[in-house]
Amino acid sequence: MLRWFIVFLMFAFPAAAEEVVLGLSKDEVAITTSFNGSDILIFGAVKRDKPIPDGDPLEVIVTISGPSEPVTVRRKEKRLGIWVNIDSVEIDRAPSFYAVATSAPLRDVLNDVEDLRYKISVPRAIRSVGAPMGIKDAAAFTQAIIRIRTNSDTYQLLENQVTVDAQTLFQTSVQLPAALTEGDYITRIFLTRSGKVVSSYETSIDVRKVGLERWLFTMSRENSMLYGLMSLAIAIAAGWGASAIFRIFRF
């Protein structure tokens, strides 16, 4: 009886056969005054208690996703000779940053069903529930957000950028751009075989403004009156200072 139960378990949870052991070059990104983007190295190994299975080789997908927020996408149209925002569509959730790195072309390592389930590819990572009545081509708005953010390197599709050694060791690196918002950057690793996810692992990278940046940002939100007065004081002091310096030296 017990023997059958173990066999049942093995069929029911095949994912447990191969697991990810992960390393990150850093699990914190500090946005300082001189912050100009950051490279993150993601590396790891596959732990398994059985020999490597036959069939298709093991593939690895790594995703890094910034904090999601609702956004409004607007489209310009020509009215009275000038280009004006007319239609707008609200996207319920769009990550502020999203990178997908794969060990082979994404189409080959992941099938559609699994993509839908785990929301791995860029279009799946964006959630758009419904467009307002009267806008027939709502998909164009989702495509637009992907296009714009891909051009600014905030959405990255890095196919063939994960190197896998002997189906066991893998590594990749992702470049975080300079224009980065704060938050928890969810990092996910998927191991796939024949397009199916066999194991996944999730951790997060903490991206925070620190020091002066943190102080100023917090102050501008929580103590905006004082922040405004400070801005004015600096302006007045600089204006007075410059005229005083020029008066002293009589240029």
């Binding site: 946005i31 300082t32 005054t33 001189s34 912050f35 100009n36 983007g37 927020e69 609702p70 956004v71 409004t72 996408v73 607007r74 489209r75 310009k76 020509k78 000779g81 000038i82 280009w83 004006v84 925002n85 707008s88 609200e90 319920d92 164009a140 708005f141 637009a144 957000i145 296009r147 714009i148 953010r149 300079a178 224009a179 980065l180 918002t181 403004k209 002066l212 940046e213 100023l216 940002f217 501008s220 905006s224 009156m225 922040y227 405004g228 007065l229 400070m230 801005s231 004015l232 600096i234 302006a235 007045i236 600089a238 204006g239 007075w240 200072g241 410059a242 005229s243 020029f246 240029f251």
Partner: protein
């Protein structure tokens, strides 16, 4: 050297901002304008979000106007009474302007409004100034006398008259109040001090003597832009202090240098160059509105 701006949330080159501040400062010192009408569009071009550019620029104008007004106080060319009347109008206008700005931001039309304001005002003022200074140059070339302004017009028939001793005027307070309100609205929406509108209005509408115009306009601009800065800082959280510091360090020094260059140039030449510059900025912004953009879609944070 790259610097990450905490409010704009982008990384920019610090030396570029210092240089930008310096160049605009020199121009503003030469021509006696705040320079906001040049700086704000330049900030758009380098990718600062428009809302942040407008709010931060208001803060920078406080610095350059304060630097300028000190010199005018020493020469006693500030009409405090007229400045206060303009200021009362200006504060009302600034409050209205921020309300309009916030409403249009929610509608997604704020970029359009700011750009349209720029195109219209820069176009009209640049054009008028260009024609006027061209005529002046032609007249001096012929050796004729510069035309004198009419001293009396319909404005002198309005009630609530008041005496402005420094300006040597006895006029109704209504026109200065209206001028103040209009400039206040523009200051809030466009992120400018409004000097380039205020100065012609004071000379041609109110009939103030040219020598007190610049100082008085600077005096009231300080308070209006300071008020605008506070409104933007407390309602929109869009004043980026790091950006402001970089711009105003370049700006205040540039302004002092510019003022010294300006003294050495002929008035008509100065005006015609200012007019050309104003028209160039106007032309660039107008083209952006008229030519089909390469990207029709734009992304804004947040839903409705």
């Amino acid at each position: 050297m790259q610097i990450y701006l905490p409010i704009a949330e982008i990384s920019v080159n610090a030396f570029m901002l210092l240089g930008l501040g310096g160049i605009v400062g020199i121009l503003s010192g030469m021509f006696g304008v705040g320079g906001g009408f040049l700086m704000t569009p330049l900030l758009f071009f380098i990718g600062i979000p428009p809302a942040v550019a407008v709010a931060t620029e208001a803060n920078q104008i406080v610095a350059s106007s304060f630097s300028g007004v000190l010199a005018h106080f020493k020469r006693k060319t500030v009409d405090l009474k007229m400045g206060t009347v303009l200021l009362i109008g200006g504060l009302v206008g600034a409050a209205l302007g921020v309300v309009v700005f916030n409403y249009l931001k929610a509608q997604g039309q704020v970029d359009l409004l700011v750009k349209l304001c720029y195109v219209i005002f820069l176009g009209v003022i640049g054009g008028l100034m260009f024609i006027e200074s061209l005529n002046a140059i032609r007249k001096t070339a012929k050796g004729g006398k510069p035309s004198t302004r009419k001293k009396h017009n319909w404005i002198h028939g309005l009630p609530f008259k008041m005496r402005f001793r420094v300006s040597g005027l006895y006029i109704s307070v209504i026109p200065p109040l209206i001028v103040g309100v209009l400039v206040g609205i523009l200051a809030a929406i466009m992120g400018v001090g409004g000097g380039f509108i205020m100065v012609p209005a004071m000379i041609y509408l109110l009939g103030m003597p040219t020598k007190v115009v610049v100082g008085t306009s600077l005096f009231q601009i300080i308070f209006v832009t300071a008020f605008t800065t506070m409104l933007h800082a407390t309602t929109n959280f869009t004043v980026d202090i790091v950006l402001a510091v970089l711009l105003l360090v370049g700006g205040v020094f540039g302004a002092q240098i510019g003022a010294r260059i300006g003294v050495k140039m002929k008035a008509e030449q100065l005006r015609i160059w200012l007019a050309i510059m104003v028209l160039a900025v106007c032309g660039k912004l107008a083209l952006d509105l008229l030519i089909m953009p390469t990207e029709l879609y734009s992304i804004a944070a947040g839903g409705h």
